[in-house]
């Protein structure tokens, strides 16, 4: 590789890092639940980028990065499977038994949608984050997760529909609570 080519490659990797590192980190964090582990996985993703020919991935850089990041995160999870299994067996957080005041407080905060998101099946949470946090297209999400394009559309729609309906329920409960 001559000097110009090496410079342009360094520039390319730097730009990829600046454009995607944050979004990859959030995504890895959502899969791993641990910031340090998420950062490590993202660093490893960029190490792999450095070893990969640009021509092979340039057209779909974001999808490539998210796919590699996802695979590495799942490797980490496989290694920590016992711990994670325990965590996933824990009962889902429920709003059923909360005090009305707590529900009101929660629904007034910006965190309410995150609570709704956390109650969805993991697959739906993942595609929602890839769409609305990472900003990937349906096609990029399909390529990252291995779902078909139509399945990605279905999962995102179903996730939004479920969250909207639970959100409306929360608001209705709030109105009833307030009228008491």
């Amino acid at each position: 590789m001559n000097e110009n080519a090496a410079d342009s490659r360094r520039q390319w990797i730097l730009e990829a890092y600046q454009a995607h590192q944050n979004r990859l980190e959030r995504y890895a964090l959502s899969l791993l639940g641990d910031l340090e582990a998420a950062r490590e996985v993202v660093q490893e993703t960029f190490v792999q980028l450095c070893r990969t020919e640009r021509e092979k991935i340039d057209a779909s850089l974001a999808a490539w990065l998210f796919t590699v990041c996802r695979n590495k995160a799942f490797d980490v999870r496989r290694k920590e499977r016992l711990v994670l299994e325990k965590r996933s067996q824990a009962p889902e957080p429920s709003t059923e038994f909360r005090e009305p005041a707590e529900i009101v407080e929660q629904s007034q905060s910006a965190d309410v949608v995150l609570g709704l998101l956390a109650r969805l099946p993991e697959k739906q949470q993942e595609v929602v984050r890839l769409k609305f946090q990472a900003g990937l297209s349906y096609a990029e999400i399909a390529s990252t997760t291995g779902n078909s394009l139509s399945n990605v559309g279905y999962l995102i729609h179903t996730a939004i529909k479920t969250m909207r309906s639970r959100f409306a329920q929360l608001e209705a409960d709030e109105v009833r609570g307030g009228a008491r």
């Binding site: 959030r26 910006a110 949608v113 998101l117 609305f132 946090q133 559309g153 279905y154 909207r164």
Partner: protein, 59 residues
């Protein structure tokens, strides 16, 4: 028409994930039906809330 497919297409439309033909078809439906317009407005409001929540989480 299957209402689930229609809703799913409206979601895809809002997110810019439909073909040119579908886009025109959905925009015709939007012109003709207040119900479809209301549905899109509700969907859009929720999606904005979702995006804001996710951005806030990321800090």
């Amino acid at each position: 028409m299957n209402p689930r497919i229609e809703e799913e297409r409206l979601t895809a439309y809002l997110l810019g994930e439909v073909s040119e033909d579908e886009r025109r078809e959905i925009e015709r439906a939007l012109e003709q039906s207040a119900e479809v317009r209301d549905e899109l407005a509700g969907l859009k409001a929720f999606v904005e809330r979702l995006e804001q929540g996710l951005q806030a989480e990321a800090g």
